[in-house]
């Protein structure tokens, strides 16, 4: 029989999930069944079948599950593409962050101003385009297919590039070539790439103490990887609440460094009563001396208890989150475990856990705890004291993973009871993290499916292609020494790499991917080496599941136990539904073929097939809830990254306006300045500003707030006057002159409060408001 290999769209590769997620489920999420290899093969094969048949447009099932799955799938696509946009924007903002200080100080040459301006050009939405000729399209399509499906080339490249070259490579690899964050084939290929580089690192790091410590191109990629959709939603669900409730306690001081406690104690005493005995204590004593001071001990002891409680709370949610931990992160932990065992056959669990901890805690969990803002877990920057507490929590967790040397900070030894109490638990947790299945089998399958697709494609920009081309060319001597290798052949046909095009001319190309060496597979059965019986059996199962999902649950045909013959018959004779009829007829054919092959037996009501169909249906039933739950979680993620996007865009807008302003001023020196028009005043009520978050703290009594309003005026570009008024009075209570430079500088210094005596404004919010309200065509 011919296997149903139509030409499903690329989106549906990702959506194999949509109809039959069995194989997906077992790889993408992290739970693990204990099935034999044989069973698992059968299992994923049937998943494959279902996915393919479902891709035939006339076989689409329209039940609630299918709809829920479609919503989820769309969401995943949106998250992936939004992530990429954010990544690109972030790069621009980072660049501008580093330049804006110079600009503020008027220390930037004109050429550099132009360079800065080029980063501000509206490049957020790159237009679509195409290569001028088909030949280019084909060759690059071939190259990108090769790079995507054979991750070893990129793995090798990662070892060759310098940190300076990494940025463009990172973007192309993480957000384009393997950019579909929820698509199992791309995910698995990316993980294979990581594995290959990790293996190399293990093989080439002589000292144990240096393993996994250096910052390398691949560690950069792993960072980016842990921060994509799945990692972000995990961190949010595990950490966000705990962190947020901690940073609300702005004044909670949990410093346990005796010297600092001692000093602060004296400072406070001096402020209160300079004659008190504490204020007279000697300064400049040693840490040991400070630690022995009974007053210091009195302060520190309860803090130790609180820190332990807080850290225990974090640890608890992290351990409870085991099953929620993204598959890829767990799989990397697993690779670290097996690589460690391979390099050090005698390694005990402690050694293994130390190295797992150097990935899981050091590079994934703890950075998010210490700098939650940059992981989008909180909005503002934590105040000093909560920041310090968070740092302590991270240090305690890291100490659990490693062997802490109190040689660094002797006072940390006071927290030893926490380590002793949790050490075993954490080691067990880290080993359980490694307990996930491999994906090689499904990857092989996915690759076959990919090959059988006739319209695999990739959205990639011209500059990404050219940069990749350039990197490959630069490292040609290492990457493709053998001139007969596929990579060498394509590269020589492509010729020298074109230079980067200006941002304005950059285009997104929709590149069809294909391999000219591997012919598309027409007969998947042969390719996968499975028997005819299995093919029939799986097709039968798939068709029955489809039929039953389509018929109303309360109809008599759907009654249990399932009678397969009757179901097939009912489908084949259904009215006004040609598709259903076709399915029914096919189901009947398959039943009799299977009967002939003695796979199933009519006398026991085809029990073998029936039970599997039943199992499948049950699985799908619970699947709907899983899908709904996942959708809710991902909506949260999507919202977070969209908010982040809005923030980045407003940041860019601010810089943009500022730069225009600076440039128009410097132009003004030579050319007669255009007449500057006063903008405003614009009036805002206290309530309005409070709602928008511009007012972050108000000292105005509640009953007076309704009478307070503000006027915003811009007499000159880049200059603003904010005045505070009380209804009925002619003159304002307060007037504040602001320069954009000052606001930007405050923002740069993470200084969020703008003090207006009666109220405190939030600096970024003020900037956003000014930006929205006073944007002038040229300058402010």
């Amino acid at each position: 029989m011919s296997v149903m290999l139509q030409t499903p769209s690329r989106a549906s590769t990702g959506s194999t999930t949509s109809v039959q997620p069995l194989s997906r489920q077992n790889t993408m999420s992290s739970y693990e069944g204990s099935r034999s290899a044989r069973q698992s093969k059968r299992y994923s094969m049937s998943a494959l079948y279902m996915s393919m048949s479902a891709n035939e447009s006339d076989l689409i099932i329209e039940d609630e599950l299918a709809r829920a799955q479609k919503v989820l799938r769309d969401l995943k696509t949106k998250i992936s593409s939004q992530s990429k946009k954010n990544f690109v924007l972030e790069k621009d903002v980072r660049y501008l962050d580093s330049r804006i200080a110079l600009l503020i100080q008027n220390r930037m040459a004109l050429e550099e101003q132009n360079e800065v301006a080029s980063h501000l050009e509206d490049a957020t939405d790159i237009q679509e385009g195409a290569f001028p000729n088909d030949d280019r399209t084909q060759k690059y399509g071939n190259l990108l297919f090769l790079l995507q499906s054979e991750p070893r080339h990129i793995a090798h490249l990662c070892r060759l590039v310098t940190m300076a070259e990494i940025d463009s490579l990172l973007q192309t690899v993480m957000f384009t070539i393997y950019g579909n964050q929820y698509e199992s084939r791309e995910e698995h290929l990316l993980l294979t790439m990581f594995q290959s580089v990790l293996t190399y690192q293990f093989d080439n790091t002589p000292e144990y103490s240096s393993l996994l410590r250096a910052n390398t191109p691949v560690s950069r990629m792993m960072t980016t990887y842990t921060r994509r959709g799945p990692g972000q939603s995990f961190l949010k669900s595990v950490l966000a609440d705990r962190i947020n409730s901690l940073i609300e306690l702005k004044d909670l001081d949990l410093e346990i460094n005796p010297l600092k406690v001692y000093e602060r104690m004296i400072e406070e005493a001096e402020a209160k009563d300079p004659e008190s005995p504490e204020a007279m204590l000697p300064k400049g004593i040693t840490q040991e001396e400070a630690a022995e001071n009974p007053k210091v001990q009195e302060i520190i002891n309860p803090r130790l208890t609180m820190l332990t409680e807080i850290a225990n709370g974090f640890l608890e949610t992290i351990i409870e989150g085991l099953e929620e931990t993204p598959y890829g992160i767990r799989w990397i932990c697993k690779q670290i475990r097996s690589l460690t065992k391979r390099k050090y056959p005698d390694a005990n669990d402690q050694v293994i856990c130390t190295l797992i901890g150097s990935f899981f805690f050091l590079r994934f969990i703890n950075p998010a705890i210490v700098t939650p803002k940059s992981y989008m877990l909180i909005d503002g920057t934590p105040a000093d004291k909560p920041r310090k507490t968070l740092t302590y929590v991270a240090k305690m967790l890291q100490n659990l993973a490693n062997k802490p040397s109190y040689a660094k900070e002797p006072y940390m030894a006071k927290l030893q009871p926490f380590i002793h109490a949790n050490k075993d638990k954490v080691n067990r947790f880290m080993l359980e993290l490694c307990d996930v299945q491999d994906f090689y089998e499904t990857l092989e399958m996915d690759n076959y499916v990919a090959l059988s697709k006739k319209d695999l494609q990739l959205d990639i920009t011209l500059n990404e292609i050219y940069a990749m081309h350039g990197l490959l060319e630069k490292h040609a001597g290492e990457l493709y020494k053998d001139e007969n290798s596929h990579l060498a052949i394509i590269m020589s046909e492509l010729g020298p790499a074109p230079p980067q095009v200006p941002r304005k001319e950059n285009r997104v190309i929709n590149l069809p991917l294909f391999s000219r060496w591997e012919t598309a597979i027409d007969d998947l059965t042969a390719a996968l080496d499975i028997t005819q019986e299995e093919v029939f059996f799986m097709e039968a199962k798939s068709i029955f599941v489809q039929i039953i999902r389509t018929i109303p649950a309360n109809s008599s045909v759907a009654r249990r136990p399932l009678r397969l013959e009757r179901i097939a018959d009912a489908a084949a004779t259904s009215k006004n539904d040609a598709v259903m009829v076709r399915k029914g007829i096919r189901a009947m054919e398959l039943l009799s073929q299977l009967q002939e092959l003695k796979v199933v037996d009519k006398s026991d009501q085809f029990a073998l097939l029936r039970d599997e169909v039943e199992q499948e249906l049950q699985h799908l039933g619970s699947l709907k809830e899983v899908v709904m739950a996942e959708t809710i979680k991902l909506e949260e993620v999507y919202k977070t990254i969209r908010d982040h996007n809005a923030y980045l865009v407003s940041q860019l807008d601010t810089y943009k306006s500022y730069l225009h302003n600076v440039r128009s001023q410097s132009e003004g020196k030579t050319r007669k300045q255009q007449k500057q028009q006063v903008l405003g005043p614009y009036k805002f009520t206290h309530q309005q500003l409070e709602k928008e978050g511009v007012i972050q703290k108000s000292n105005v009594p509640d009953n007076r707030r309704a009478n307070i309003y503000f006027n915003f005026t811009s007499p000159l570009p880049g200059t603003f006057v904010i005045s505070l008024h009380y209804k009925g009075r002619n003159r304002g209570l307060l007037e504040l002159d602001l320069k954009l430079d000052d606001l930007l500088e405050m923002q740069k210094d993470n200084q969020d409060d703008l003090d207006l005596e009666y109220v405190q404004f939030n600096v970024p919010k003020v900037l956003a408001l000014l930006n929205k309200r006073f944007a002038r065509k040229k300058g402010w």
């Binding site: 002589p206 802490p404 040397s405 002159d737 430079d741 200084q751 003090d755």
Partner: protein, 231 residues
């Protein structure tokens, strides 16, 4: 009345920077506690305090040992604002670790807005001669471009450990003596807000086009810092 020894003890903030696994903590722990750390114990943020005598003068040092792991990059700004002197550490066994220093240096100079900020460049793990991947001449040439002294050190054998810290102290003392106003450096990490009309253009009209809040700093030339100290 005390005359002797009442000279106020200077206090300086040193920040130790460099990529992961180059031995920042080992250097610092050797310097402060005379201990060699053998265990695998990546740093998140450690602070040390110690008093040293530099050319007969007592100096109190607050040393911040930082995470080399790049994922903690968001903390760097804060460190750099607080620091008055910087140890830039790499490992002579890794070219990449040297390459990363230039980004760090640029960031320091940008954040401190000061090209003469005291810096000492350290090539650690100098005892691992058979694994040397960075040529001494190359590292020295870079240090000269940066106008910073270069030392090759080994935390394991305690070679040049004290020297790198003392050199940094000398640089900071020299600046201090020369009347270089680094008060705002010192307070850089703390908040300036609060208290009504002060600061940041509040309440006072400024001349159009001037950038009032930036204090221009006096710059001084430093001499005699071009040296390479080898073991």
């Amino acid at each position: 009345m005390r005359i002797y020894g009442f000279q106020p003890c200077r206090e300086f903030h040193i920040v130790v920077l460099g990529t992961g696994g180059v031995g920042k903590s080992c250097l610092t722990a050797q310097f402060v506690h005379n201990e060699w750390i053998e265990s695998y114990d990546p740093t998140i943020e450690d602070s040390y305090r110690t008093q040293v005598s530099v050319d007969g003068r007592q100096v109190m040092l607050e040393i911040l040992d930082t995470a080399g792991t790049e994922q903690f990059v968001a903390m760097r700004d804060l460190y750099m604002k607080a620091g008055q002197g910087f140890l830039l550490v790499f490992s002579i066994t890794s070219q990449a670790s040297l390459d990363e220093l230039s980004t760090l240096r640029e960031e320091i100079i940008r954040i401190k807005d000061d090209e003469k900020i005291p810096i000492v460049m350290v090539g650690n793990k100098a005892d691992l001669l058979d694994q040397r991947a960075v040529d001494r001449k190359e590292a020295f040439a870079i240090s000269q471009q940066w106008n910073a002294p270069y030392y090759e050190a080994s935390a394991r054998t305690r070679t040049n450990v004290d020297q790198v810290f003392i050199d940094l102290c000398r640089q900071m003392l020299r600046r201090d003596d020369s009347g270089y106003n680094d008060d705002d450096d010192y307070n850089g990490g703390t908040r300036n807000g609060g208290g009504g009309g002060g600061g940041y253009g509040c309440g006072q009209k400024q001349e159009d086009g001037s950038h009032g809040s930036m204090m221009k700093k006096r710059r001084r030339k430093r001499k005699g810092d071009h040296k390479c100290i080898i073991m």
